[in-house]
C-alpha cells in the first residue's frame, strides 16, 4: 500500500497539483518537524553555497531520494514540473550570458547591446543554476507536503518561538496555497466574463479592481471562518494555549540530524 493516501480527484477531471500537506506514514512524515526544519535549512544552505554542478547534482539527487521515501513522489514531481518554464528560462539565459565560462566558443553573436556566447563551461554552469533553483523549490515543497500544520506550530513552540509568530507562520504556510488557488479561480472567472487580463497589462483601474476586490472578500471570508472556528473551540481564553501532541525525536531523527549537521560542517570546509 502506498505510504500516502490517494488525493481526491476533482469532478471528472485530473486532480490539481498544488503544494499542500499529504497525509501519510512514511519515514519522512514521521520525522520531528524540528528535524525537518533543520533539513530544510541544510538543503537551502547547500543550494546557496554550492557553485560546482556535480555537487549540486548530488544534492538534488539526495532530495529526489528523500521525495521517493515519502511515497508522494508523483505529486512532488508534478509541482516541480510547474516551475520548469521558469527554470528553463533561467538556464537558457545563463547559457547565453554565462558568469563562468571555459572551453571553445560554440556560438557567439552581437545582438544590439547583447553579446551572447555559448561555451561548454557556461552550459555546465547553467545546469548547476537550474539544479539550484529546483533544490530550493523542491525542499520547501517536500517540507509542506510531509509536515502537518499543527506539528509545525508545536515544533516552533518547542524552539521557543512566540506563539503568535508560530501560529501565524503555520497558518500562512497552509493558506498560501489556498489564497493562490482562490486567486487563480478569480482570474479565470474574470476571464470568462471577457476581461482581458493578459492583453495590455494589468495596470488599469478596472482590471486591478476586478482582481483586488474579490481577493479582499475571499480574505475576509476565510479570516472570519477560521477565527470563528477558533473562538468556538475556546481559543484565546487561556494565556498559554494547550498543545496535546507531544513531540519527541526518535532514533531516525537523530540519524537525520547527524547527517544534516555533517553535511553543513562539510560545506564549511569546502
Amino acid at each position: 500500500m502506498s505510504a500516502v493516501r490517494r488525493s481526491r480527484k476533482g469532478r471528472g477531471g485530473k486532480a490539481r497539483e498544488r503544494i499542500r500537506y499529504l497525509p501519510g506514514d512514511s519515514f519522512v512524515h514521521r520525522l520531528d518537524p524540528r528535524t525537518k526544519t533543520l533539513v530544510l535549512i541544510g538543503f537551502t544552505c547547500m543550494a546557496l553555497v554550492f557553485t560546482d554542478t556535480a555537487l549540486m547534482a548530488a544534492t538534488f539527487g539526495l532530495l529526489v531520494a528523500l521525495a521517493m521515501l515519502t511515497g508522494a513522489f508523483r505529486h512532488w514531481y508534478g509541482t516541480l514540473v510547474k516551475a520548469m518554464p521558469f527554470v528553463v528560462l533561467v538556464v537558457l539565459a545563463s547559457t547565453l550570458f554565462p558568469r563562468v565560462s571555459w572551453g571553445p566558443v560554440l556560438f557567439a553573436a552581437d545582438w544590439w547591446i547583447f553579446h551572447p556566447s555559448v561555451t561548454p563551461g557556461g552550459f555546465v554552469y547553467s545546469i548547476g543554476v537550474g539544479l539550484r533553483l529546483l533544490t530550493a523549490a523542491g525542499v520547501s515543497t517536500l517540507f509542506i507536503m510531509t509536515t502537518r500544520f499543527e506539528d509545525f506550530v508545536a515544533g516552533l513552540r518547542k524552539l521557543h518561538v512566540p506563539y503568535v509568530v508560530a501560529f501565524s507562520l503555520g497558518l500562512a504556510l497552509r493558506a498560501v496555497t489556498l489564497m493562490s488557488a482562490d486567486m487563480k479561480i478569480i482570474m479565470d472567472a474574470q476571464r470568462s466574463r471577457c476581461l482581458e487580463l493578459d492583453a495590455g497589462g494589468l495596470l488599469s483601474r478596472n482590471r486591478l479592481m476586478s482582481l483586488i476586490i474579490p481577493m479582499t472578500i475571499c480574505l475576509i471570508n476565510r479570516s472570519r471562518n477560521i477565527s470563528s472556528a477558533m473562538l468556538c473551540r475556546g481559543y484565546g481564553y487561556a494565556a498559554r494555549p494547550a498543545i496535546y501532541s507531544r513531540l519527541r525525536p526518535g532514533p531516525g531523527d537523530w540519524i537525520v540530524i547527524a547527517g544534516t549537521l555533517a553535511g553543513i560542517a562539510a560545506l564549511a570546509f569546502l
Partner: protein, 178 residues
C-alpha cells in the same frame, strides 16, 4: 468586554496570517516594466492595507511572516524567488521595507480614532515611501551605484502603479473593519 478583546485579538492574528499568504500569492501576479528588472506586483498594496487595517503590531507581524515564508524556501518573493540570498541581494531592501512600511502605516493610521479617507491615504503613502527608502538604499549599496541611479531604477518605474494601488487601497481600507 474581555471576551470581545480576545475575539478581536484572535481575528487580527488570523487576518495577519492571511494577509501574509495573500501578499505571497500577490507576488505571482507580476507586470514587467521597462527600465527595471523587477516587475510591478500587488505586494505593496497588501503591505499598505495590512498596516492600515490591522495596525502596527499585526501589520508588522503579517509582513514578518511573509518574509519568513520566503526565507524558508517558498517561492513567494517577486519573480518567484525565495531564500536568504534574495533578502541580502540588491532587491532585498524592499522586503525589509515592507516590515517598516507596514509599521509606519499602522502607526499613522492609528494616531486618529476614526481616520478619514484622506488620513488613510496619507498614512499609506508615507508607508509606501518608507518601503522605497529601504529598497533604494540597499539597491545603491549592493550594486555600488549612485543614489540618483538607484532612484531611477528602483523608484520612478514603480510610481504610476503605486499611485493606482494607493487609490484602491484607500477605498478598501476605508470600508474594511476587523
Amino acid at each position: 468586554m474581555e471576551s470581545s478583546r480576545q475575539s478581536s485579538y484572535v481575528r487580527k492574528m488570523v487576518y495577519a496570517s492571511l494577509f501574509a499568504a495573500l501578499t505571497a500569492a500577490a507576488a505571482w501576479i507580476s507586470i514587467p516594466i521597462p527600465l527595471s528588472p523587477l516587475p510591478v506586483t500587488l505586494q505593496t498594496l497588501f503591505t499598505m492595507l495590512s498596516g492600515a487595517v490591522l495596525g502596527p503590531y499585526f501589520g508588522v507581524l503579517a509582513m514578518i511572516v511573509y518574509v519568513l515564508l520566503g526565507l524558508i524556501g517558498l517561492p513567494v518573493f517577486a519573480a518567484g524567488q525565495s531564500g536568504p540570498g534574495v533578502l541580502f541581494g540588491p532587491w532585498g531592501g524592499y522586503l525589509i521595507g515592507f516590515v517598516f512600511g507596514a509599521a509606519v502605516t499602522g502607526l499613522i493610521a492609528g494616531a486618529k480614532e476614526k481616520p478619514g479617507l484622506a488620513w488613510l491615504c496619507m498614512a499609506m503613502a508615507v508607508g509606501d515611501i518608507v518601503v522605497y527608502v529601504f529598497g533604494v538604499a540597499q539597491l545603491a549599496l549592493i550594486l555600488q551605484i549612485t543614489l540618483d541611479k538607484a532612484i531611477l531604477i528602483g523608484f520612478f518605474p514603480f510610481v504610476p502603479g503605486d499611485i493606482l494601488k494607493l487609490a484602491i487601497a484607500t477605498v478598501i481600507a476605508g470600508k474594511m473593519k476587523v
